[in-house]
Symmetry: C2
């Protein structure tokens, strides 16, 4: 099941072609996106997702997204959905057609079933490798053209990193900075558990502010955990009681293997944190 709606409120056939070949989202990866988890009719963390969409738009000098219109189109997809209780909702916003200064951005919301691989990762955890992203975090502020921390459509490197992980027998990646500082996954944030404290790296390192990570932290705090947003080194991942990747669709995923080395069993911590996260959306 798939549901496609454009920002103007038009529902459309997701199996038909709707994008011109000269859309800058296609020709230049010049646009932004968000992926929202919808569960039992609720688009989780929609506010933080739309906040981040607005931040990404500002970083790419795109017109400010019309928040009310995005909220309406999300509602339209939800109302039209008749598939599984949980699904992924992608929001895409490109610079529009090349060479036409009057061209409006291309903007749509696409509801999609969650694939089996994601469900397996949720249940069984994942093996992860660390890969160097090659850019020092201190570029974040002083080199805004590098778009560090923007969720752009230019994800070829993120996808190549996941293929590199597969070549190494792993499922996913934790990007590191040249000095070894932990950054983020290609499509996730990193969370570490140590004692009764959760840690995640700060967005000032040039990474995305995590929507699911934020929700896990809120839930964990409610359940008595302390939380800290501070830089981590790879050694901190190895010595942690639990290492997790947080992403909207995969929720909180347990990492059981890091760079080929098994990590301590964090199933119990994972279960507790997953419950705290779900409690954020209960009743």
């Amino acid at each position: 099941m798939r549901v496609l709606a454009f920002l103007d409120g038009t529902l459309a056939d997701p199996d038909a072609a709707h994008i011109r070949v000269d859309d800058l989202g296609l020709l230049r990866g010049d646009g932004i996106f968000e992926t929202v988890l919808v569960a039992d009719g609720v688009p989780r963390e929609l506010g933080p997702h739309l906040d981040r969409l607005a931040r990404s738009a500002a970083m790419l000098d795109l017109p400010e997204p019309d928040r009310a219109a995005w909220e309406r189109v999300v509602r339209l997809v939800l109302d039209s959905w008749s598939g599984s209780a949980e699904f992924a909702l992608k929001l895409v916003y490109t610079r529009g057609v090349e060479g036409d200064p009057a061209s409006a951005p291309t903007a749509f919301a696409l509801g999609m079933e969650i694939d089996e691989k994601v469900r397996r990762a949720r249940a069984e955890g994942v093996a992860v490798v660390t890969l160097d992203r090659g850019i020092d975090p201190d570029y974040t502020e002083r080199a805004p053209w590098l778009l560090l921390g923007a969720k752009s459509l230019s994800y070829a490197v993120n996808m190549a990193a996941v293929r590199e992980a597969a070549r190494r027998g792993a499922d996913d990646v934790v990007f590191t900075a040249p000095g070894g500082t932990v950054l983020e996954g290609p499509t996730s944030n990193v969370i570490v558990a140590r004692g009764r404290t959760l840690y995640t790296p700060p967005p000032s390192l040039g990474i995305l502010k995590g929507t699911t990570q934020g929700s896990v932290f809120r839930g964990a705090e409610r359940a008595g955990w302390a939380t800290k947003v501070e830089p981590l080194e790879v050694a901190d991942l190895r010595s942690a009681d639990g290492l997790f990747l947080a992403s909207s669709v995969r929720k909180l995923t347990r990492v059981h293997t890091l760079d080929g080395q098994p990590l301590p069993d964090s199933s119990a911590i994972h279960a507790e944190l997953a419950e705290a996260y779900e409690a954020e959306y209960a009743g």
Copy 2:
């Protein structure tokens, strides 16, 4: 005037929609491209462009491009073109539709008129700023997932750099490495003239091997110039007799201003090199 043809030999209306919203070229910038200059019916440097397309495909683990099919589709666009004597021909090759392992790549050739801004840059030269790309060239070999030297569709940073140049009152960019080594432009290669020698940085720095740069070098050699492919520093750009950007559509463009400072007048050198370049395609 625009002409669109898909790799299977189908001509299509370039103003209609042909791409699905879930094409990975759009959702992930996951694909590659080339831009070929066609002049008087000849696709310039088509061989080197198709060589580079194949290299980019290998770096992104895309299926090897069908060279004969690309040559045929280029011929088809050329035969269908009735616009200006010079035009830009874009070749685009994406990973195809998301979530469908049997999905074929999306592949098309799009002929487009050259816009006025390009013609002005060719005639008047450009002001350029240097911007740090943030990645040390020594990552090229050891971090293939960074896709350095692949011409991917993920060009959001390249486009952001050009907007940053505009904010600084300039037209274009020369990317530098963290240590100050000269790399390339967002859509061009750098050529420096000093005495009767031309210089360009080596692809081993994680930059594209220039098709137009190659042609300029061949032409210049024929005209008695020496050529060297070796690393350059920003100081070499300032002290050069001439600084140029080479790109298919803009050909050899003279840089008259670097980081706000006027450069020595290189009009005569530019005229000589431009002639040597054109002579490569004469009669």
